[in-house]
């Protein structure tokens, strides 16, 4: 049994309380009878495991299929040490470190995470994480709105900022008067096209790096244009790409967000993932989310506490900058361990491996008549393939050969029916790339 009481325990406890039966404890409920739940009886652990094993076996996994799907969630190798540490009960059965004397493990790992993200993004500070990349972008919009106290209401979002991040921004901003522009631009236009939309009412300009199409742009000019109008400049990143590419601080970003899933987090059908959020020191009090800070204890030892909590909902209630009250805890810890294991050289090597594989795949695709893979564009591990027929059809054919072809861009960009977004990570071997190319050339080009 999940609960430990014996009949004798229960009787002794009821006697101490001074009631006769457990039901007497529920006299305050408005319903006279307990509900008769239309649910099955419980089962044992071995039965439950068998049941869940069966359910899981119905799914076709990225281990069985060759997956070129990315679009915000990437199939990367997770070193064994990550999960081995995550499964320590000291980490995963603790909660938010409200009592620092007995939470230094969690607090130090938050502090180390903040340090790693600051180093990776080139920003002054990072918070302890948000729910995922999309909500981190929404929190950035919220932060800019608060920074200008609602006096600037225009938000310029790149059409190549993750579509689901943009949708999340729209949902979060439902109760406000903000105006969101930029998304309707031709998705294949240059980022400089956004400049004409920036004016003195603009609070924030937000782009992605590499962008949703996998492409890498120099945002220096765009960032300057935002700052010239007094607006903030935000960049949403893929953290693995930053092993190779200049950090967004090179474009003078004020806010950096990112989807942290590639840093040691399994695909797990979309979650839980990790929302990276970093900013400049001057904005720290405007930033939402938990923060760990270094201090000392009464014995003179270095230690850490949650700090600047006066920004947060449990103190400020309706005047708080956000309602967020947790971080992604264990997922944040996974990425901290992952980055510790890789270090400087490991992350560079991983980024380079992804870069080479993706470029090989794109190059090979470009040899197929009718196919065009990001010609003349700088990209990281993901690229747009223009197909001679609808991407949905290409995907269907590839799936017959146990290949997940890529993301059909028309699902987010009407008019791009023939465009496929393909990601190639270190998990895909040369022979798998070549098999996919063969199928594209022989089976889809008829």
């Amino acid at each position: 049994m999940y609960t430990p009481h014996t009949d004798a325990d229960r009787e002794a406890m009821l006697e101490t309380i001074g009631v006769e039966a457990v039901n007497d404890l529920f006299q305050c409920l408005p319903n006279e009878d307990l509900p008769d739940l239309a649910l099955p009886e419980g089962i044992t652990e071995m039965e439950a495991l068998a049941e869940l094993q069966y359910i899981s076996s119905v799914n076709e996994t990225t281990q069985e299929l060759t997956s070129f799907l990315g679009a915000g969630a990437y199939n990367h190798y997770v070193p064994a040490a990550v999960d081995s540490l995550l499964r320590r009960g000291e980490f995963y059965t603790a909660y938010t470190p409200y009592q620092p004397e007995i939470s230094q493990g969690t607090l130090q790992s938050i502090f180390e995470y903040q340090s790693l993200i600051a180093a990776l993004t080139g920003m002054d500070i990072s918070n302890a994480s948000h729910y995922d990349g999309a909500t981190a972008v929404a929190e950035a919009v919220n932060m800019a709105l608060n920074r200008f106290r609602g006096r600037r209401l225009k938000f310029v979002l790149s059409p190549r900022l993750h579509p689901q991040a943009r949708e999340t921004v729209h949902t979060y901003m439902k109760g406000s008067d903000v105006e969101i522009v930029g998304e309707d631009l031709d998705p294949e236009s240059d980022p400089e096209e956004l400049i004409s939309l920036i004016d003195e009412d603009t609070a924030l300009v937000f782009v992605q790096y590499p962008d949703f199409f996998g492409q890498v742009y120099d945002y220096t000019e765009l960032g300057e244009a935002a700052h010239d109008q007094g607006a903030m400049f935000g960049v949403h990143v893929n953290p693995i790409a930053l092993g190779l590419l200049k950090p967004p601080s090179a474009f003078d970003a004020d806010i950096v967000t990112g989807e942290g899933q590639p840093l040691g987090v399994p695909l797990s059908f979309g979650g839980p993932y990790l929302g990276i959020f970093a900013t400049k020191k001057e904005f720290v009090r405007k930033m939402a989310g938990r923060l760990a800070g270094e201090t000392v204890d009464d014995r003179g030892q270095r230690g850490y506490v949650l700090t600047l909590s006066t920004r947060e909902q449990h103190i400020r209630r309706e005047r708080a900058t956000s309602n967020i009250c947790t971080n992604q805890g264990l997922i944040m810890l996974a990425s901290t361990i992952f980055l510790s294991l890789l270090g400087k050289e490991g992350l560079r090597e991983l980024a380079a491996l992804n870069y080479h594989k993706a470029h090989y795949a794109a190059e090979q695709i470009n040899t197929i008549p009718g196919y065009l893979a990001s010609p003349g564009k700088t990209f990281f591990n993901e690229f747009v393939v223009h197909c001679p027929r609808p991407a949905a059809e290409v995907n269907e054919i590839l799936l017959q050969y146990d290949i997940l072809g890529g993301y059909d861009l028309s699902e987010s960009y009407p008019g791009m029916e023939n465009a496929l977004l393909m990601a190639v990570t270190e998990m895909i071997g040369r022979s798998e790339i070549e098999f996919m190319i063969d199928i594209l050339a022989e089976e889809t080009n008829a």
């Binding site: 509900p35 603790a94 729910y131 993750h162 800070g293 850490y304 400087k344 080479h356």
Partner: protein
């Protein structure tokens, strides 16, 4: 002894993982974009393991000892749930795979929606919100969308009892609502007179936590919901305290219109040191069209020959998505495993044992601590960490002293309406023996508070760290560290 940071132990040219050489020709790097510095620490695998194992020893967790953190439901997290969430069929599926390749996952999500619906009485459930506060945001946006859909745009007033968690007002403000605080009556219920006086045509709704943060079932819940409904408002239920209601009361039947669940509280998914949580939202039929997108439907029912077919569905008037993809799937797997393991009787036993444990511990310490609103509690109760004859002692001192006995302190200073509050939630997985010991410790501390207050003021004494200087942390604002200036030079 504090553990050095990752940056302290870094040494140039060490590493903890290697990748294979590229098996494809190397492409030219974009020279204009290459980064020069990448100041990450360099550490061997063994050192990484030792570092994190060592710092883990400074944590208290449910696996280590009693953790009565009120309103957080720190119950035991069954190990099998961890195993199933890591099955390849769940861990290695991409969120954008075609539905026909992920029928197991979609079926599980559908079943979870059904189980949550049956337990709570709500007809429709959306799983996307990432945490309790995120579920609140979703729920309040649903209420807002419902009124606007009816063209009733003046309804922006949200009533929130003074006992509510801070996320309630913060969420309402974030959703563009005007927050009006409601007092509690002398029995800890929502004050009906005050509520009635706020019931007008600007009322959007009320956010109610039931059982409330005093651990009391609100005796006025049905009447309060009726008043709000009569005024045209909706009732948001904060499901943080659902643990007491499993199989004992369906919140929808008390008049609540929309409520979030905390899978990480009620359904035993681990708290993970602060996350990930999971905050699905249940609604009455009138609100089903507003759920965040997507929800999972059973598109084809299936029969003896054919399996059912599950698919994503975008509700007609959806508030939109509240995050990327479909929610914290890994948490759905754990919560679902927990539910089917317990089944209907087991779920009720959870509620009964949780309530039994709380009332038992309350009975054992009630002579040592003042208990405001002294009536039968649900899954938790609130006592005061102050005594007239111990003028220097605060609740915080009691908390810190509890650590010396291997006990995590209760929630401190919450709810705000109780002075020097200690909110105690034992949960159902604790034995009578544990509760007896805890009561002994707490009674001893109450005695120490009068007889040797210094012992409390300077506590904890037995933990690896003493009290930390929070003022210094906020003043110095050291939020990260980095490699030393001379790093890499021998």
């Amino acid at each position: 002894m504090p553990e050095p940071t990752l940056f302290d132990i870094s040494k140039a040219n060490r590493r903890g993982v290697r990748y294979p050489e590229p098996d494809v020709p190397e492409a030219d790097f974009p020279q204009d974009f290459l980064r020069e510095e990448l100041p990450l620490p360099e550490i061997s695998e063994h050192e990484v393991i030792r570092h994190f194992t060592n710092i883990s020893q400074y944590n208290h967790g449910v696996d280590i000892g009693f953790y009565p953190l009120g309103s957080c439901t720190m119950k035991y997290n069954p190990k099998v749930n961890e195993d199933v969430a890591r099955l390849p069929g769940f861990a290695f599926i991409h969120p954008l795979q075609p539905p026909e390749t992920v029928q197991g996952a979609l079926g599980l999500m559908y079943e979870l929606q059904e189980w949550l619906g049956e337990i709570s009485g709500f007809t429709d459930v959306g799983l996307q919100p990432a945490a309790g506060a995120h579920g609140e945001l979703t729920g309040v946006l649903i209420i807002r969308a419902y009124h606007r859909d009816r063209g009733d745009e003046k309804r922006t007033k949200m009533l929130i009892p003074d006992s509510a968690h801070g996320t309630n007002p913060a969420t309402s403000a974030m959703s563009g609502m005007e927050v009006v605080e409601l007092p509690s009556d002398e029995r800890g219920n929502v004050d009906l007179e005050a509520l009635e006086s706020e019931c007008d045509d600007t009322l959007a709704g009320i956010m109610i936590t039931n059982p409330n943060t005093l651990g009391l079932f609100d005796e006025n819940i049905v009447e309060a919901c009726q008043l709000v409904h009569e005024a045209g408002g909706l009732v948001y239920g904060d499901g943080a305290n659902m643990n007491a209601l499993l199989g004992t009361c369906k919140p929808a039947q008390t008049g609540i219109d929309v409520m979030h669940f905390n899978l990480h509280k009620t359904f035993s998914t681990p708290h993970g040191g602060g996350g990930p949580g999971s905050g699905p939202v249940g609604v009455v039929p009138e609100l089903a069209d507003f759920l965040p997108s997507p929800v999972v439907i059973r598109a084809e029912k299936g029969d003896e020959k054919n399996a059912p077919f599950y698919d994503f569905h975008v509700p007609e008037k959806t508030i939109g998505r509240v995050k990327a993809f479909h929610g914290h799937f890994g948490m759905f797997v754990r919560a679902f495993t927990y539910m089917i393991s317990l089944g209907k009787e087991g779920l009720r036993d959870v509620a009964e044992s949780a309530v039994l444990n709380a009332n038992y511990l309350r009975a054992l310490i009630k002579d040592s601590y003042n208990i405001p609103y002294d009536r039968m509690c649900m899954h938790e109760f609130v006592v005061q960490g102050e005594w007239e004859d111990a003028p220097d002692i605060q609740a915080l001192d009691v908390s810190k002293r509890m650590m010396d006995f291997g006990i995590h302190p209760p929630t401190n200073y919450f709810p705000l309406i109780v002075h020097e509050a200690l909110m105690i939630e034992p949960t159902e997985t604790e034995t009578k023996e544990t509760l007896d010991e805890v009561a002994q410790v707490m009674n001893k501390i109450a005695k120490e508070a009068r007889e040797e207050p210094e012992t409390l003021k300077t506590a904890p004494h037995q933990t690896p760290f003493g009290r930390l200087d929070e003022v210094k942390a906020a003043k110095d604002l050291i939020l990260n560290t980095s490699l030393p200036e001379d790093y890499g030079e021998d």
